[in-house]
Amino acid sequence: MTAPVSIENATKTFGSFTALDAVSLDINAGEFIVLLGPSGCGKTTLLSILGGFLSPTTGRIAIGGKEMTNVPPAKRPTTTMFQDYALFPHMKLKDNVGFGLRMRGVAKAEREERAKGFLDLVGLKSSADKKPHELSGGQRQRVALARALAVDPDVLLLDEPLGALDLKLRRQMQDELKAIQKRVGTTFVHVTHDQEEAMAIADRIVVMNQGKIEDVGPPSEIYMRPRSLFAAGFMGEVNFIPGTISDVNSSQAIVETRLGKVALPKTCFTAAMPSVGQTTTLCIRPEHFRRAGEGDGAVTALGHAAVASSAFFGTHYRCHLRPASAPETSIVAHMPQSAAVMEGQAVTIAVNVGDIVALPSKQA
């Protein structure tokens, strides 16, 4: 069926190495949540803990309100889809999918009936009598999904399931996973290092780094309003422009940067409220730059810049700009398709302040 998951202060250490550091997270029932981060960030460790393959060193796990911290995998209402699928090679597909049912004592006829139903859900009903080695990678993955869903778990855990597929197949499977999840309503917890994949399928994304959660939220919010420098950098290309807060009033803060003075509404400060004298880093995405005079809404001019290099990407030009006021800095900006950008060209850049996010600078 489905159930919410609650992780309270979970820590996992392996000897002197801390894989998870006091991680707390609440997952809603029926949510498709994605754990996103680079290798070694702890996402797979967290998933293993949810599945019961690892116990947290400290902390609690609850599923559906019930204490589950040390419950073995067989007794948890979770099933896992492994990265290498782990389909039993000596069994036919219908026996693979029906394995969990067999362990629950379901009679053969009914087992096969239900197994075929789940194979149908993933579009492989006609292959019920085949063996895994006769299938392609994408098909095997669907069988693994069917097998995991066949026991009607409350939570489905997916361990980088799309990593071995090529791009086209991956996009297709992303859509299918999303569709199936909506159909069955089970809580899905999906681990990946690919931020595009995360944005494509997640209801909420959990960005992790070095055992800690950096940011949690729907894709658009994490992308547009990240709450940590790491999350900002991980979700896509971003320009980090350091500055100092010189003045704060009721609705705005003035930040002095090498590109000039910028007046930012307080909503730009996603992590902490601004105070005078604080160092802050402005995060501006390449696609948010405008040529002065263009664009809609209130734009703040950021001075002149020269185009150091540019490459045509089809939908836009990706340019490296050298600001006149800070020639040692390089800014990455996307110029529109129609701009006909040329190297050496001088442009004036501007940005809509609403698009800027200001985050506390990292302590050196």
Partner: protein, 287 residues
Amino acid sequence: MAAYSLEDAERRKAWGFVAPALVWTIVFFVAPFLFMVAMSLWAQQGGSIVHVWNFGNYIAFFEKDALFRGLTNSLEITAIVTVLSILLAYPLAWIIAEQVPQKYQRTALILAILPFWTSYVVRSYSWLLVLSRNGVINQTLMNMGVISEPLELASNRTATVIGFVHFFVMLLTLTIYANLVQLSPNYRRAAADLGANAFQTFWHVILPLTMPGIMTGAFLTFVLCIGDYVTPQILGGNNELVLPQIIMLQLGRRADFPMAAALSIILMLAVTAAYIACARWLKIERA
């Protein structure tokens, strides 16, 4: 079209490389084997070989009880040895793969197969030291007062079986362990995840997946056991001879090469039958 191309030169080179091995195999294996087949269809009379084609040797095999029983003894002993060795070796392989900590597994495995490195002849002889009337077992039991007369443990079929099982347990431990250890740990996790307890995981998932290791070992056991002369000769006594012993007897006093050849062909057919059965089984498992 050029009559000579890069590929032709390459191919000629390749033939040159593979030829020595092929020639050796043909000259020293295939040709002698074919010659033996021919020899089996001749007969030995009065010290020399009569080159008349006939199936006399084969007919004699089916008619003479002593000869035929050689094959049945061989098959029975081999079957018992194979089954016993599998039953004893599997738990040992499992223990080394599962219970022994990772970094000691290699050591444990090497220890388990260390006696392989005694000479084969010496190894069978060692069992004689253990099983004979004045051997270790009898002396120990008599000293403890458990028995008053020594047990007839050597020079019979039991001793032969013990000698064989000792050897093949080590071989099977090796093949089964190799199979166990390369199974992805995710199979076990997936089975547990889906609700299987330890026994169910073993019975439904692990055991079937180690069948290749068992069958490889069983096949090797069968081939090596049925063709072995040394162990039965040292431990088996004079009563129930196996086929290799009977073959050697033909060579000994009577120098009856044709008969020896015929019996060898029969032995070879038994092995081929096992090979086909094994290949068939593997295909069934695959399909």
